[in-house]
Amino acid sequence: MTTAPVNKIDNTIEDPENRPQLILNHTEFSSVTTDILRANESSKAPKSWYFALAISFTMMSMLGAMIGYLIFTGVGVWGNNNPVAWGYPIVNFVFWVGIGHAGTLISAILFLFRQKWRTAINRFAEAMTIFAVICAGTFPGIHIGRVWLAYWLFPIPNQMDMWPQFRSPLLWDVFAVGTYFTVSLLFWYLGMVPDLATMRDRATSKVKQLVYGLLSLGWRGSMRHWHRYERAYLLLAALATPLVLSVHSVVSFDFAVSQLPGWHTTIFPPYFVAGAIFSGFAMVMTLAIPARQLWGLKNFITMRHLENMCKVVLFTGSIVGYAYSMEFFIAWYSGEIYESFTFINRAFGPYGWAYWIMVSCNVLTPQIFWFKKARNNIAIIFTASLLVNVGMWFERFVIVVTSLANDFLPSSWGMYEPTWVDVVTFLGSFGLFMTFFLLFIRFLPILAIAELKSIMPIADPHGHGHSYNEMSGETNAQAELAEEDE
């Protein structure tokens, strides 16, 4: 697969007189379209794509097999036991919901803040959100034990004249995650309609024309449509912003509203939200780095985009670190013996190893992004993002398992150990996530093409040029001199 030339332009330099270029080596609209859709339109995907799809699909099938085994045998196949009734499924649920949050942050919050760099990453971050929420939704669904009664979660009249308990955070979760999934899906799809129309108009086969034609709903680029579309997009961004903050807050209520030491704390909602964005951005980087390489998108997802994401990871990682220390401080300051014990037990008890994995991955790792050299080094970014993903999974493990395993009376304590079924199910959920993601990058517009065109300097109808990309190649000697670290 051929890719567009990547000239050595360093757009990470902070120059107060010039806004940095966000789209490199493109001065025409048509070349942007062609360059982004090159991978989608080529008749064959790169070999590595087939290879990755084969692995992901196998893992997804394992998930299916594990769920089947669970349903036919019972929840005894898991390690969940009496004090630790939540175990892996809820750890995985919180982990996956958290991953999703970065997508909405990028698409909604950064949109309201007019952060134009978001346009290069919002589409696949939103896709990531949707697939992550699908993975997340799977776990509570199978954790309820009798899967065939899952409809009891919803307020549907049934033969027992019984209704859900609306004062329970677990039910709030059903509504929060359900709403979150629906709104994210709508946001993603609405944003994609104009790009699907572009794919329809460029389609070479009848099948593609028909499929993209149906999906694009007959979008014809009418400015009267764009007018309402832009308004709807703004409204959705304004709705998704409090929504995304509420979703992980509600997830944290599952813990915080209970009486358990280590869970019953007021810091949980903001701490969970920061952690969610932190892990989500790490996942965006984990996906973006191979995708830009493989799909030839380095002109769009530039070093500056990665550097900005590193800064977000540094910031949210520091909030998470602050939350960890504040939990400890309050545990001591409250004078509550159970609370104090729980935290000492977390760090130095039988699950201390998990706690220290969490601290080193989540608090120490992102601190490397204080250095520009690290923020501009692909290998370091990729490694750090993987470590953050690991750390954030362990954070949920620490929260769920340590508090349940050792709570009040030592007579009711019990250790938790996952079974092979737990582990395979968790790995299988990555298969589900990656399968969806790989299919998405092959068949749907991976970047927001229309939005990217609108931030190009030639898109400004008045030619004032107070848009981006002001510095042109020849006037910026600095940029020429700067070397690229890739």
């Binding site: 014809r220 400015m223 764009w226 409090p242």
Partner: protein
């Protein structure tokens, strides 16, 4: 450039004339001119929302935000009714139809626990607002619409790529073929295209 294929299309089959522009200032200027020339049934086909073009065309502010507000209020009302009816109440409508909820007594907490009903009420408000925003846009834009004269002409496919079109429809009361053609040509377009219905 001025040779319009309109003579090959019967007048009653003519949807309108389209002028093609290669730049955003070009389409912006053309939209302003079309608006001030008094055309009502015209549109701009653009690959991305050109900043300020809707105002240049004289497009009125959409009523979508108002619809979304009422959509949200509907969601809020439904959520409150749902929670109060199912968890807090037991009564008969006109002493005939029994409405029976399920009154959980949890640690003696109030059945009508307003604070506990906030999260679900909030989520339902957002859900209904978002649904109204998306389906309201589609409804107001009359989408999906799989057949349209501007989708039919192969040249206009570039409207989703890199070209900008000003389309003046034949149903406009001021539409006189030669006048519109002359008007469009005066805007310095790349080309003028006649569109069949």
């Amino acid at each position: 450039m001025s040779e319009v294929a309109s003579n090959t299309i019967a007048r009653e089959n003519l949807y309108g004339l389209a002028a093609e522009f290669a730049t955003t200032p070009g389409i912006y200027h053309a939209a302003e001119e079309a608006h001030s020339a008094g055309y009502k049934w015209f549109d701009c086909l653009v690959p991305f929302p050109v900043h300020g073009l809707d105002r240049a065309m004289g497009v009125k502010m959409t009523i979508l935000p108002i619809l979304v507000f009422f959509g949200g209020m509907l969601g809020l009302t439904l959520a409150c009714c749902l929670q109060i009816f199912t968890n807090s109440l037991e009564f008969d409508i006109w002493a005939l139809i029994p409405v029976v909820g399920y009154q959980y007594d949890v640690s003696g907490k109030p059945l009508l626990g307003a604070a506990a009903f906030v999260p679900v009420a909030f989520e339902m408000t957002v859900l209904f607002s978002a649904l109204t925003a998306v389906f309201g846009t589609l409804f107001l834009n009359k989408l999906p619409m799989f057949y349209h004269p501007t989708l039919k002409h192969p040249a206009l496919a570039r409207a989703t790529d890199d070209r900008f079109y000003l389309v003046i429809e034949a149903r406009d009361p001021k539409f006189r073929l030669d006048e519109v053609e002359a008007f469009l040509n005066s805007l310095n377009p790349e080309t003028v295209i006649a569109l069949e219905k």
